[in-house]
Assembly symmetry: C2
Homo-oligomer: 368 residues x 2
């Protein structure tokens, strides 16, 4: 079966709906979009998904359907179609397993830097976790954001990333923000001997992304944050593959896929797909914060980002939410050293942002 893409769907059946029928329907819908009797036999054999196993339990079932790799045809958009394109508009179908064949996995770029590479970019020689601070809020002027960057860099934060809502608004237009924030970080590094990185939020019109990427490299940045679902998975893949920059993937819009009985399991969407398309780190809302992921989801995302997956490097989980000085040690114990802890609100609550950041940095540097 390793030459086929096998997907495990959790099926939740409506009254009168039979799991076996629902599984067969998915196998057709995601390939030929025709009833079986309308499909020429040779096409049926070559193309239509095969229901490999079906485990029923009450009104629910786990169906594993395998598809020929040729149905993907080597392109990411069609992989997304095959995964969830049309069945997104049905009910009670949740992707809970993906068995990736080498032919699909090897064509996707995966992390260019990954855990080791990103640590190296940050100048961190030990195996400690990294600290990432979110630059916010939207509405501050570029100079004010640059001042925050300076403080955070002097405190020794490893990565400073724009909030995902910082785009090209008049308060801090992209070009000015890039120049001032990257300048402030470089200046602080030069003064302190530090190696803090600034990752601007890459967004904008399709026709302007190439120019922005060039500006980002020119400003000396080594990475960007991007939202794959907002900018497009394929746009993200293409940039990850060719831009030479580290990518922090942001989960904006992904929550639409996280319904209990319909969608794609978070560890597959954020942990596997984001990694395969080239994210070196994946931001997600930590348990106990403001969002729906639970502890099991978070641990599963961490696992999928780090575990062996073809030739691909492990990527960093970047949990954000509920992490502060008091609880940092507990989170390190729970999530391990190959983690980037993302700090936002808990920093901005402090009367002195710089000293709060210094405390967090000291905690992390004491690790290992």
């Amino acid at each position: 079966m390793s030459d086929r893409l096998t997907i495990g769907y959790r099926l939740t059946c409506a009254p009168g709906e039979a799991p076996a029928e629902k599984a067969r329907d998915i196998a057709l819908e995601q390939t030929v979009e025709l009833p079986a009797e309308c499909v020429p036999e040779a096409v049926f054999e070559a193309v239509v998904g095969r229901v490999e196993t079906l485990e029923e339990e009450g009104g629910r079932a786990l169906a594993r359907i395998s598809y020929p790799v040729d149905a993907v045809g080597g392109e990411l958009p069609q992989l997304l179609n095959l995964l969830f394109g049309n069945i997104s508009m049905k009910a009670g179908i949740r992707i809970e397993e993906i068995l990736w064949p080498p032919a699909v996995v090897e064509r996707l770029p995966g992390p260019r830097f990954g855990v080791e590479g990103l640590r190296r970019l940050c100048g961190v020689a030990t195996a400690r976790p990294l600290l990432c601070a979110a630059l916010k809020p939207l509405g501050l002027a570029a100079g004010e954001l640059a001042n925050l960057c300076r403080e955070l860099a002097l405190a020794g934060v490893d990565i400073i990333k724009d909030d995902h809502s910082l785009a090209n608004q008049r308060w801090a237009p992209f070009d000015e923000r890039l120049e001032r924030c990257s300048g402030a970080v470089a200046e602080a590094n030069a003064g302190s001997g530090g190696s803090t990185l600034y990752f601007p939020n890459l967004t904008g019109a399709a026709g302007d992304l190439g120019r922005r990427l060039a500006e980002i490299r020119r400003a000396g940045c080594r990475g960007v944050m991007m939202s794959p679902l907002v900018l497009g998975f394929e746009t993200t893949r293409s940039i990850a593959e060719s831009a030479g920059l580290a990518i922090l993937g942001h989960p904006a819009l992904t929550g639409a896929f996280f319904a209990a009985e319909h969608g794609i399991a978070p560890e597959l969407l954020l942990g596997e797909l984001f990694r395969l398309i080239g994210c070196d780190g994946v931001v997600y809302p930590n348990v106990g914060g403001r969002f729906v992921l639970d502890q099991q989801d978070c641990l599963a995302i961490n696992d999928r980002l780090r575990r062996p997956l073809g030739r691909h490097r492990p990527a960093f989980p970047v949990p954000g939410g509920g992490i502060d000085t008091r609880r940092m040690s507990e989170w390190i114990d729970r999530y391990g050293p190959d983690t980037i802890f993302l700090i936002g609100t808990s920093l901005y609550r402090e009367p002195d942002l710089g000293s709060a950041a210094r405390e967090l940095v000291a905690k992390l540097r004491a690790e290992r």
Copy 2:
């Protein structure tokens, strides 16, 4: 309020969750991503959403929150973030109203052709509905698909569109399919005096889309099908704005947003957003077919695609599913003449595809 973007959210509250609190949280989350007490007063005034109205009813509520247009900053990706980026990862929030301010609506391209323009491209002088046939299944060779194109064109079908799963698979690679299918349609038109259009499915690697678009134009095609959520909203907008081709938007992946209590109402996602980013026609799964949209959703999508929206042209609804010769008149009565009826399965069920298509064409031409 017309200089603000006002969004109406249907809130479904968990036990102990107060609607007013949930609304305030959204207003912060979608802008500054900080608790109110961490936001400088001037920023709070200028940036944070304002809860304008809150109508409670049981555990549910409709909250209208207005945002400054400046928070969008003129870019579509940030508009998507503002609409549903982070709150996608919360629960019980469904966007049911969007009051578009001119400053946002006028920056988006909208349909280049729209209802009138697409009728003109199809050479249809009367106000009758159009007929679109889906080219399928995946797995046929390019020559076999071209044969189907010829039959459908000779039957007088207005538009032939690739199934959304036809990408660049070995059975019918994009370039060969384009050449043979567009050639077959042109030949049939030349012989019959018809004016059938062939819309290939535009997909592929980001770096290859420009080349494919050029090939599509070179082949004489006047439009394409695209899946905005698969290729990226911004990629779609940019192509709609600059490629000079009509766009049929396909709803692949959009169903993730159609949960009953969380997401974006189908008429807003498919009817307004797809139209605003430049779709001249929007494919959706018709009620009674294989998908979750109900009759009210379909009628609402039709309405949003056609009704006045700034300077933008009306777009065609393209319902697919459950439409055949027997029921065609009923659907025309229900959906009106400014509709493109999409026929797939019901054609391929017939022993003679060509004569079934001719019958449908005759039905439509008898209208008005």
